[in-house]
Symmetry: C2
C-alpha cells in the first residue's frame, strides 16, 4: 500500500537514481537515494501549468495563487505556521512544500488526494483557502483568449475543463524537483561534499532511527506515521490526520511523513507549524518519536546534516499572465 500512486515520472527518476547509486560502492547501501532533475516531456503543458500556478485569478479575491502558500522563492512553502486564506482566514494546517511533492505517496498531510492533479483542485474550491469554485475558475479561464488558445494547443480540444486545469498544474509541479544537494553529491561518491560534522549527523540520523521514517528519495513522503509515538504530541491544532480519511481510530494522529529535502527552507515544522527551528524539530522528534533526548552536540550534528539536503531550487522565469478580457468577471475581494 505504501508504494501505490507514486507517479511514473518520479518512479523513473528514482529508478535512475538507484542505478546511479548502484555504481558507487561506498554509498551503495544507503537508505536514501539521490534525486535527479525532472525530464520535461510536455513543455507546453508545463508552461501552461506554470501560468496557472502563479495566477491569483483562480481565487475568489483575485489575490491568492498556488504560489501564495507554496512560494517557489521560499522552498515551495509560505514559512508561516498555517497559511492565510480568503479574507485572511487562518488555515488549519501548515502548508507542505510543493518541491519534490511528485515523489510523495499521496498529497496533503492526511493523504486525502491520491496525486498532484487531485490535490490541485482542492485549495481552489476550499472556502478557507482560495474560496473559488471550479466552475468560476473555468469560466474565468474561458474568458481569456490566450488561455483558451493555450489549452487548445496543449489538450487538443476546445473543452477547457477543471480536469485540464489541474492536469496542467500537476505537470508543472512534477518539474519542481531539487537535485544536486550536497548530500546527493555525497551519495553519488563525492566524499568531500559533506563536512565531518554533517557526516556525523547523517550517521546519527541513521543510528538513532530517524531514517526509519525519513527514507527513500525524498527522505519521507512515503508513509504515514503517528505523531507522538513514545510521548504524546501536545498541540492546539485540531487536525486528526489519517483517521479523517480512513475512519479508523487507529489512524488518529497519523500523518504523512514530510520530506526532509530543502528542510532548511521549509520552516516552521510539523503539521501545526509549532517548531520554528530545525534544532527544536530535531529535539521534539527525538523525544516523541524515538524516546531519545539528543545532546546539544548530537542535535547540532543532525541539523548540520539536514542543511545539506537543500538542492538546486527551480530556475523559473516568472510567467507573464494572459490579461483578462472585457468579458472576464472582476474579483470583489471585499464583498
Amino acid at each position: 500500500m505504501l508504494t501505490k500512486s507514486i507517479p511514473l515520472t518520479f518512479a523513473v527518476v528514482a529508478c535512475a537514481a538507484l542505478m546511479a547509486a548502484g555504481s558507487v560502492m561506498a554509498q551503495g547501501q544507503e537508505p536514501i537515494r539521490p534525486i535527479q532533475a525532472a525530464k520535461v516531456t510536455a513543455p507546453a503543458k508545463v508552461e501552461l501549468g506554470k501560468k496557472l500556478f502563479f495566477d491569483p485569478r483562480l481565487s475568489k479575491s483575485g489575490s491568492i495563487s498556488c504560489n501564495s502558500c507554496h512560494n517557489l522563492s521560499m522552498g515551495g512553502s509560505d514559512n508561516l505556521k498555517t497559511s492565510i486564506g480568503d479574507k485572511w482566514q487562518k488555515g488549519p494546517i501548515n502548508s507542505p512544500t510543493v518541491l519534490n511533492s511528485s515523489g510523495n505517496i499521496a498529497q496533503f498531510w492526511d493523504g486525502r488526494a491520491k496525486d498532484l492533479k487531485e490535490q490541485a483542485g482542492g485549495p481552489i474550491a476550499n472556502p478557507g483557502e482560495m474560496a473559488f469554485t471550479h466552475e468560476l475558475a473555468v469560466d474565468m479561464l474561458r474568458s481569456i483568449p490566450q488561455y483558451v488558445s493555450e489549452f487548445k494547443k496543449v489538450f487538443g480540444n476546445d473543452k477547457l475543463t477543471i480536469d485540464e486545469v489541474t492536469a496542467a498544474i500537476a505537470a508543472f509541479e512534477e518539474t519542481l524537483v531539487t537535485p544536486n544537494s550536497r548530500f546527493d553529491k555525497w551519495l553519488k561518491g563525492d566524499h568531500k561534499a559533506l563536512k565531518s560534522q554533517e557526516l556525523a549527523g547523517y550517521k546519527l540520523f541513521k543510528a538513532s532511527g530517524c531514517v526509519g521514517c525519513h527514507n527513500g528519495p525524498n527522505l519521507g513522503g512515503n508513509s504515514y506515521q503517528k505523531m507522538g509515538v513514545v510521548e504524546a504530541f501536545k498541540t492546539t491544532n485540531t487536525a486528526e490526520g489519517r483517521s479523517a480519511i480512513t475512519g479508523k481510530d487507529a489512524d488518529r494522529f497519523n500523518f504523512k511523513v514530510p520530506t526532509l529535502r530543502n528542510v532548511e527552507l521549509t520552516y516552521p515544522y510539523f503539521h501545526d507549524g509549532s517548531a520554528n527551528t530545525l534544532g527544536e524539530a530535531v529535539d521534539t522528534m527525538g523525544r516523541l518519536q524515538l524516546g531519545r533526548k539528543f545532546t546539544d552536540t548530537e542535535n547540532t550534528e543532525i541539523v548540520a546534516f539536514l542543511k545539506t539536503l537543500t538542492g538546486d531550487q527551480p530556475k523559473l522565469t516568472l510567467p507573464a499572465l494572459p490579461p483578462s478580457s472585457d468579458k472576464t468577471k472582476r474579483p470583489h475581494p471585499f464583498e
Copy 2:
C-alpha cells in the same frame, strides 16, 4: 517643476530614444518617444533589490511583498480595484504599475514620494499595507546571514540600513522597463508594426487631445492633472490627490497622469479602479476630460491603439530567497 526628479537612468534612456527617433523622418515629430531596455550598471544591487521586492518577510504578516500589489506577472499591478493590505484591509487607492515607473515625475498617485527609493519605504511601514516598521524590517534582514553578506557586498559596509534596503529595491525597479511595444517599433520606423485601425486610433488619440496629458516616453507620468475637467468625476473614493501634499485647494483631485504603457495589462483603471475595461476608461476620459463623446468606432480605434503599447515584460528568474535563521523573528499574521 514638472521635469524635476526624473531619474538619471530614465533620462538617459529618454535621450537615447530621442536621438534614435530623430533619425527617423516619418515619426520624428511624434509627441511620444520609444523607450529602451534599462542598462544594468550594478547587477549585484539589482539582484539584491529583486530579492527584497519578492520578500514577504518585509511585511508584518510575512505574506505581503512588493510583488503582491505590483505583480510582475500582471503588468506590475494587482488588477484589483484597490489592493488588499495586512489583515485583508481595503486599500485606499488603485495600485499603480511599477513598470516604467522610473520615468514618472514622482511616485504615488499624489506624487508624495519624489522617487522610487522614497516610495519603497512607504508600503512597508504603512499600517494598512505591509504594516511593518522600518526598524523591524531591518532587524529581520540583519538576522539572515545571506542578506547581511549581500548588503555588505553591494554597499561596502556592515550597516544594513533602511536607506540601503530602499536603494536596492529602487535599483531593481529601475530595470523594469518594457521596450519593443508594437507602437515603439512603429515610432522607430517599422510602418507595418501598426494595423490601420490602430493607427487611426493613434491619430484620434492625438487629434482629440488625449496626448495633451499622455505624452513623453511613458505616455503620462510626467504631470499632475485634474480628474474631471469638463465634467465632475463621480466616485466614492476619498482620495483628494495632490492637494493632500501641497495643501492648496487648487490641487484638489489633481492626480499624477498614469502611464499608458502596458495599459492592456493594468486594469482596472483610474485612481479608484472604477473602470474595468479600456473601452469604459476611454469613454470616461473623453467625456470628463475632453468634453467629447467618442463614437463606438472611435472608442474601438483608440482601444486598439492602446493595446499596441504592451512592451516586452521583464524576463525575470524568480529569486531564491535567503532562508531565515534561528534568530529571525517569526511572523504572527493572526495576532
